[in-house]
């Protein structure tokens, strides 16, 4: 019997093995945010799905099709049958594709992570849309909302084509995203969050739009433990602005305090808006992030 030919890779972002494992997982949001349109997620309110939920007294004007006639025959009082309402959930992927993400494989980790969330959404019949922000004043590159396994290739092609450039602040990217997006759900933001913009405003906009912020901060090893000795002139990769520093232990300690402070602030911003936050190093393998950190933290199940 001839050996089986190896299955071709669907995408360069994720291996087939990872895709197989993702097929059995789904996103587990902290809250229950769904769109009114019919979907696969219970809304918490009464609906028209096939799944029975409860009874209530009949009031004039109710749709008589939902009266339980068997009970009416026994008790001679009309009761109305209630059913769960299943609504659809939006998975919005926002990939920070500014120039700062080009450093040390930060973007190369951001794209597979976004792809993984997109795959989980599509395979669970969510509506998945993707955005890649570059310039502050330009609309982000956009993948319109799509659904189903058939949209996987579109999602992969979109993310594979994302390149790092520009200097888009995150709040501006969120603002431009919300101009196109309608629907509640989860917004997965993959970024380094090193932005001069107002982070709080961006998270507020997402919250107001009914999107739970899932923040994944990717920092390179040298950003986590900078190796700066003697005098240096630092150049911002996005703005080309310069900053002169003289290395000292105090300066590095202060840097660590600020980096940790940024993480704490981002975590707080997400948590207060029923979101989640995870800082990762760009040196961490994507499998480790997906199947270890995200699962242990309950992001996916």
């Amino acid at each position: 019997m001839p050996p089986l030919a190896p299955r071709p890779q669907m995408t360069t972002l994720l291996t087939n093995g990872v895709l197989d494992r993702l097929e059995r997982l789904r996103i587990r949001p902290a809250g229950r945010r769904t769109s009114r349109s019919r979907g696969e997620h219970l809304s918490g309110k009464g609906g028209t799905s096939t799944e029975f939920c409860d009874y209530r007294d009949y009031t004039p004007g109710d749709d008589t099709r939902f009266v339980d006639w068997n009970i009416f025959a026994r008790l001679h009082r009309p009761y109305l049958k209630q059913f769960h309402k299943e609504e659809e959930r939006h998975i919005v992927l926002l990939v920070d594709a500014s120039a700062s993400m080009k450093f040390e494989d930060k973007l190369n980790l951001a794209k597979p992570l976004a792809a993984a969330f997109g795959v989980m959404g599509l395979l669970n019949n969510e509506r998945v849309s993707a955005y890649a922000s570059h310039q502050a004043n330009d609309a982000p590159d956009r993948l319109p909302p799509c659904r189903g396994r058939a949209s996987l290739r579109m999602l992969f092609q979109f993310l594979e084509s994302v390149e790092g450039r520009g200097d888009a602040p995150l709040d501006r990217a969120v603002e431009l995203l919300l101009r196109h997006h309608r629907g509640r759900g989860v917004c997965v933001i993959v970024s380094d969050f090193l932005t001069f913009g107002d982070l709080k405003r961006g998270f507020n906009l997402l919250h107001a739009a009914g999107l739970e912020p899932f923040g994944i901060q990717i920092l390179s090893p040298r950003e986590i433990e900078p190796d700066v000795s003697s005098d240096w002139r630092l150049v911002d990769s996005e703005t080309q602005e310069t900053l002169d520093i003289s290395s000292s232990a105090d300066l590095l300690n202060l840097y660590q305090e600020y980096r940790q402070g940024l993480e704490d602030e981002l975590a707080l911003l997400c948590r207060r808006r029923q979101g989640r936050f995870l800082p990762v190093s760009s040196a961490t393998p994507v499998e480790s992030v997906l199947f270890d950190q995200l699962r242990r933290r309950g992001w996916i199940e």
């Binding site: 700062s100 090193l194 700066v228 000795s229 003697s230 002139r233 630092l234 990769s237 590095l252 202060l254």
Partner: protein
């Protein structure tokens, strides 16, 4: 009180380098660039870094501050600061360095000489000289010589100091002090430094007009040396050679004394020297010919001074003394005829003889023209004395005479009757005779009766009365007087005894008149000399012990050996206190003279330290300054 100062304050302009240093620091034209993803965190960090901690400003500019500190240290070092020492307060300071033979003594086997120690200490002074200070180096042994005038040129001073060598002669402090005093008349100073082992007479005939800082050097080790070498004609012919060996106060032990004649060892003797004692030994040689002797001392143990271990002696050829006495002086001829070892002229056969004589005794003025080493004029006044002495015939008596003069030893002149009356001319006195080089040996009632004059190569006696017109020939003392004259003539001719030559000046050498010669010293240096009308070469400096060769057109004509032969130098006795006139006493300084302490070396070391700190914390140490 002035604690210190700067030797090169003119270098203060170097402080202006601070301006470009600060300018270049802030310009930072070549700061390495590093592209990073974002400056977001760094801006916040730096803002907090500067605002929240005022001291951070200092830390931020620590590199600049270190560089400024480094520059300040270098500029300070360039200003050449110093900490004031003892003599630094004097603007002019003459330094007298003893170079006598004892300064060549070593302190221990393989150690350094006293002169080397003195040079070391003087060099330290030169190195620590203040900018406005001037030193004058004066070396002295038996005579002083100025190495440099007052100067602040350190290179000149060091070069002069390097050329300083030990002279194998005894030291004499007085001329050195007089030279320093003479220098002080044109360039005044308050204090002079004296570096010596103290091996000079404890009393100096000098009116000290400045403060003397006597820096006595540490004593040398034990020493044995030959302090005397001489020969006397032996009764049966030949010579008795005397050698005396002495030692320093702490020297004791055995030694060998060897005697070489014309290079061949003719005698040797083992001696034992006890502390504070001398050894005298006699060797005998039967030679009748001129020969050269060398005595060599070889101590068994450590000997700190080598210059006094050899002595040289030239023995003359034995011959009868040639004496000329005219027949008119029968009393003298009678006295001389009984003496052995002399030829009396004119002889009874009427032979007048030609050539020179060793002794001429005559009452004829024309006989003074005869060539002789010793001349005695009798009964007339020599031409050079005729201005001050007048003849007379009223008679005279002896008032006093020099009993210690060799020629008058054992001669009783009391109650001598003299018919002549030599007397001083009007306004003449004994001082006028002394100015001519005469020494009055017998004083008469009105003037001198006997005078002596010693020249470089001749000895003259002037009997200003005629002995035949006195009672002298009838007295017992007359033959003794004649015997003394013969003895003086023998010594003058070098026939009775011979003494070893001493360093300092070579003994007069008899060569061809007006001859041009070269004298080669033991150090192989050459000095040109010219003989005088009588063929005498004199006044040749002989500062080193050893053989001096007289060359004529490259060929050796004479060879003369000189040695130290100084008991004071050999015993290395050093005084701790010098007494000057009016009972002024100067004790050896209790402490080593303090020189200015230069501060620039520690400043340079500090600058190097700052440089290393800067390199370590800003280049080497990961994480920078903590």
């Amino acid at each position: 009180m002035n604690w210190g100062g700067f030797q090169a304050l003119s270098h203060l302009w170097l402080l202006s380098l601070l301006a470009p240093l600060v300018l270049f620091y802030f310009l930072k034209l070549k700061r390495p660039r590093a592209e990073i993803p974002s400056l977001v965190l760094w801006r916040q960090v730096l803002q907090d870094h500067r605002v929240n901690s005022p001291f951070q400003r200092f830390k931020r500019n620590l590199l600049l501050l270190l560089q400024i500190l480094l520059l300040l240290l270098l500029v300070l070092a360039a200003l050449r600061p110093f900490w004031r020492g003892g003599p630094g307060q004097h603007r002019r300071l003459p330094v007298l360095v003893d170079c006598s033979a004892s300064m060549g003594a070593l302190d221990k086997p393989g150690g350094v000489s006293r002169l080397a120690e003195a040079k070391h200490r003087v060099r330290e002074m030169i190195d620590g000289m203040a900018s406005g200070q001037e030193l004058c180096l004066i070396a002295f042994a038996n005579t002083p010589w100025k190495l440099t005038g007052f100067t602040n040129n350190k290179r000149l001073l060091r070069d002069a100091l390097d050329q300083l060598e030990v002279a194998d002669v005894a030291s004499d402090l007085e001329p050195a002090l007089r030279l320093a005093q003479a220098l002080g008349r044109s360039e005044p100073f308050d204090e002079a430094l004296l570096f010596s082992d103290g091996n000079f007479p404890p009393r100096v005939n000098f009116d000290l007009s400045f403060k003397l800082n006597f820096q006595r050097l540490t004593p040398a080790g034990p020493n044995l040396g030959i302090t005397a070498l001489g020969a006397q004609r032996a009764a049966g012919g030949g010579w008795d050679v005397f050698v005396q060996v002495e030692g320093s106060a702490d020297a004791e032990g055995n030694a060998s004394v060897e005697l070489f004649q014309d290079g061949n060892r003719i005698a040797s003797e083992r001696i034992t020297i006890a502390r504070g004692h001398a050894q005298r030994m006699v060797f005998q040689t039967k030679t009748e010919h001129a020969s050269s002797l060398r005595a060599q001392l070889t101590p068994d143990g450590f000997d700190s001074l080598a210059a006094d271990n050899a002595a040289y002696l030239d023995l003359p050829e034995s011959r009868p003394l040639r004496v000329f006495v005219p027949k008119s002086l029968g009393s003298y001829r009678h006295a001389l005829q009984g003496m052995p070892g002399l030829d009396l002229f004119p002889q009874a056969t009427g032979d007048e003889a030609s050539g020179g004589f060793d002794l001429v005794i005559s009452d004829r003025p024309q006989d003074l023209d005869l060539t002789a080493r010793t001349r005695v004029s009798v009964g007339f006044i020599p031409p050079d004395l005729q201005r001050f002495i007048e003849p007379g015939t009223n008679g005279s008596t002896v008032v006093d005479w020099r009993r210690d003069a060799p020629v008058l030893q054992h001669v009783q002149l009391a109650d001598l009757v003299v018919l002549d009356q030599p007397r001083f001319a009007a306004h003449a006195s004994e001082g006028d005779l002394e100015n001519l080089g005469y020494e009055v040996l017998i004083h008469g009632q009105h003037g001198p009766l006997l005078a002596r004059k010693k020249d470089a190569d001749a000895l003259r006696f002037a009997l200003l009365f005629h002995t035949d017109r006195s009672t002298l020939p009838y007295r017992v003392g007359f033959p003794i007087l004649v015997e003394n004259l013969v003895q003086a003539a023998l010594e003058q001719a070098g026939l009775a005894e011979a003494l070893a030559g001493r360093t300092g000046v070579l003994p007069p050498l008899t060569l061809a008149p007006h001859g041009r010669y070269q004298v080669q010293t033991p150090g192989q240096t050459i000095e040109a000399v010219t003989a005088d009308d009588h063929g005498i070469v004199s006044g040749v400096a002989a500062p080193q012990a050893g053989y001096y060769s007289v060359l004529e057109n490259g060929a050796q004509r004479r060879r003369v050996g000189v040695a130290l032969l100084s008991p004071s130098e050999t015993t290395l006795a050093g005084v701790a206190q010098i007494e000057f006139n009016e009972r002024l006493q100067v004790a050896a300084a209790a402490s080593v003279v303090k020189t200015d302490w230069p501060l620039w070396p520690p400043l340079l070391l500090g600058a190097l330290g700052v440089l290393l700190v800067e390199w370590w914390f800003f280049q080497k140490k990961p994480g920078g300054w903590k």
